[in-house]
């Protein structure tokens, strides 16, 4: 049997073409094979891929541990809800609302970044965690004295995205085939995910990307190299947050309903886990992490039905099992693949090279003698 991965590596164009075709027909295959519910799961996988790529800019590139990232998702979602739902009677078009959401989130990214410029590591994590909670609690309580967020009930009847007068929120029949909203949103999300990937790739290889890598390693040395550490860090916060805001807007339009409970701390942690599991700093790794951690919990739901079929009743609630397996997976990963499933080249080198230092010390002493 021919070696398929090797063959694809030698024909990158063909591999790319195959991938494109696969992505194009995926919702139909999944819809036909697993049911329409799974197309929704695909949509969420893409949303989380966008979020993980955005957070990866802050955590993976610039090394700023952000535990409140979901707040930017919330801000994007709420702005979308405010500007196109009956809440304020506004129904602005999505091409206006989505960028506004990204901009608002980016602005809040700077707002979070500015006072925390001097913080690093654990301290930064605690402040960002607080920020995430503050935003959620505000959304929960801003229904009085003036009703802005509708409190814990959340905002309902958010306009679906409509392109050229065609709403993505209803079923259409194209060439005799019924196409459902999740499929339309799949293509929309795919487009935005590809856009996010493109930006993330360009950023990584840019001057800014190199500056982020430098401040991640040693901030004082980075400043001594002529890097404006303040603005470069703020830019990381702003860029990361903008993608969060964009994804939030898409989420609101797709769901048609948002409430504060969608934006709790667990979500921030989950997105961070996607990055760590997949491989921090590496774009394919981050996407893989996002897809796995979206799809696997859904797949676990089958265990409930399976238990009922074989044992007659549900012994372990799949929801509990989810967290258990999740924890086990994390522990196993730290033991066997500490750099992530698809680590970046750098981290791979780092984990491989750890024990070679002593030998080199001797070698360089020898060199100095020569």
């Amino acid at each position: 049997m021919p070696n398929v991965p090797e063959w694809l590596r030698r024909h990158p164009r063909l591999a790319f073409g195959l991938l494109a075709v696969l992505l194009a027909v995926l919702p139909f295959i999944v819809g036909a094979g697993l049911g329409r519910g799974w197309v929704r799961v695909l949509d969420f996988a893409l949303l989380y891929a966008m979020l993980a790529l955005g957070l990866n800019i802050v955590v993976g590139y610039a090394g700023l541990l952000d535990l409140g990232y979901i707040a930017f998702y919330a801000l994007g979602a709420y702005l979308f809800a405010w500007l196109s739902s009956p809440q304020f009677g506004l129904h602005l078009p999505f091409w206006l609302v989505l960028p506004s959401g990204a901009l608002l989130a980016g602005g809040f990214g700077v707002l979070l970044g500015a006072p925390t410029l001097r913080l690093r590591g654990d301290y930064l994590a605690i402040v960002t965690l607080g920020f995430g909670e503050i935003v959620r609690i505000f959304m929960n309580n801003l229904d009085a004295p003036v009703n802005i967020t509708n409190g814990p009930q959340g905002i309902n009847l958010i306009d679906p995205i409509s392109i050229g007068g065609v709403s993505l929120g209803v079923r259409h029949t194209i060439l005799g085939v019924h196409v459902f909203p999740p499929t339309f949103y799949y293509y929309l999300f795919l487009f935005f995910t590809l856009f996010t990937i493109l930006v993330a790739m360009r950023l990584q290889d840019s001057r800014i990307g190199r500056a982020w890598a430098a401040i991640r390693e040693d901030e004082v040395a980075a400043a001594a190299m002529g890097i404006d550490t303040r603005s470069v860090k703020l830019l990381a916060f702003a860029m990361g947050a903008s993608f969060g805001g964009l994804a939030g807007g898409l989420f609101a339009a797709f769901q048609g309903f948002i409430s504060p409970e969608s934006f709790n701390l667990m979500e921030s942690v989950m997105i961070l886990c996607m990055i760590v599991l997949g491989g921090m700093g590496n774009i394919p790794g981050v996407i893989l992490g996002a897809v796995l951690l979206t799809v696997l919990p859904e797949a676990l739901r089958y265990l409930g039905a399976w238990q009922r079929a074989t044992l007659g009743h549900v012994v372990v609630d799949p929801n509990d099992l989810r967290m258990l397996l999740f924890g086990l997976a994390m522990v196993a990963m730290m033991l066997f693949r500490p750099a992530g499933l698809l680590p970046s080249r750098q981290r791979k080198r780092e984990f491989r090279a750890e024990d070679g230092v002593a030998g080199q010390e001797a070698a360089s002493l020898y060199d100095a003698q020569a």
């Binding site: 980075a222 001594a224 303040r230 780092e350 090279a353 080199q360 010390e361 360089s364 060199d367």
Partner: protein, 235 residues
């Protein structure tokens, strides 16, 4: 006029006055050392010059006042610091570290020439160019920190304790390179605890004692001074 002119530089951390008003002057092409015991305030002087700590007094560099400028702006004016403990970017490769040294430079062609020169000075770095800097030995990391500063093509290089924590043979190799680049016309302010070594390679020196300059003069004269001998050269 001197390249660097420092008047009454003061650095304090809270209530602790680390530098109590010192004057320094360095001409273009000079290798000047700043020696003194642990805690005399030598590193604080460099941090003050580089804008890494809040400081009083006046710092003039190439005719311009540096006071109040952020570190990156001072770096862009042509001052390069090789920090104490080297400050290399551990999880970037050797080549990427050197590349960061040239961050503010726009003359790509000249940068490539300088890179070759660094690799000529330190063949060890050329061999290990794809390796992560954090996995280098201490001596190699010091070479990398020096090489990275050379890549910035600075008008003034500030070296903070380049001999610290290194084996004597490695120190000798580092110092040979410092002398080499100085003889090619680089301007260097060398901060050292190893007074013997620093006085051997430099032309002039300043001796710091608890935040003030106690003595200054030609390095040969300082090396012969009975007080310096007693306090720093162990004679």
């Amino acid at each position: 006029m001197s390249l660097l002119e420092v008047k009454d530089l003061k650095v304090a951390y809270g209530g602790i006055r680390a530098v109590r008003g010192i004057d320094l002057a360095i001409d273009e092409g000079e290798l000047v050392c700043l020696i003194g015991a642990n805690g005399a305030g030598k590193s604080s002087v460099l941090k003050g010059l580089m804008g890494l700590v809040h400081h009083g007094g006046e710092v003039r560099f190439a005719g311009a006042r540096l006071n109040g400028l952020p570190t990156h702006a001072i770096a862009a004016k042509g001052m390069a610091l090789v920090p104490e403990g080297r400050g290399i970017f551990a999880r970037l490769s050797v080549a990427e570290n050197l590349d960061m040294g040239a961050y503010t430079r726009r003359d790509a062609g000249q940068v490539r020439l300088d890179l070759n020169r660094v690799y000529d000075l330190f063949p060890r770095l050329a061999e290990r160019r794809a390796q992560l800097a954090g996995t280098l030995s201490g001596g190699e990391q010091q070479m990398l920190a020096l090489g990275r500063a050379i890549m910035a093509k600075p008008r003034l290089m500030l070296l903070d304790e380049p001999s610290m924590g290194l084996a004597p043979l490695v120190v000798r190799k580092i110092y040979r390179t410092i002398v080499d680049i100085a003889s090619e016309g680089a301007t260097i302010l060398l901060v050292e605890q190893n007074a013997n070594l620093a006085l051997q390679v430099s032309r002039r020196g300043y001796v710091m004692e608890s935040g003030s300059v106690a003595l200054t003069g030609a390095s040969q004269v300082l090396a012969a001074d009975p007080m310096v001998k007693a306090a720093y050269l162990g004679e």
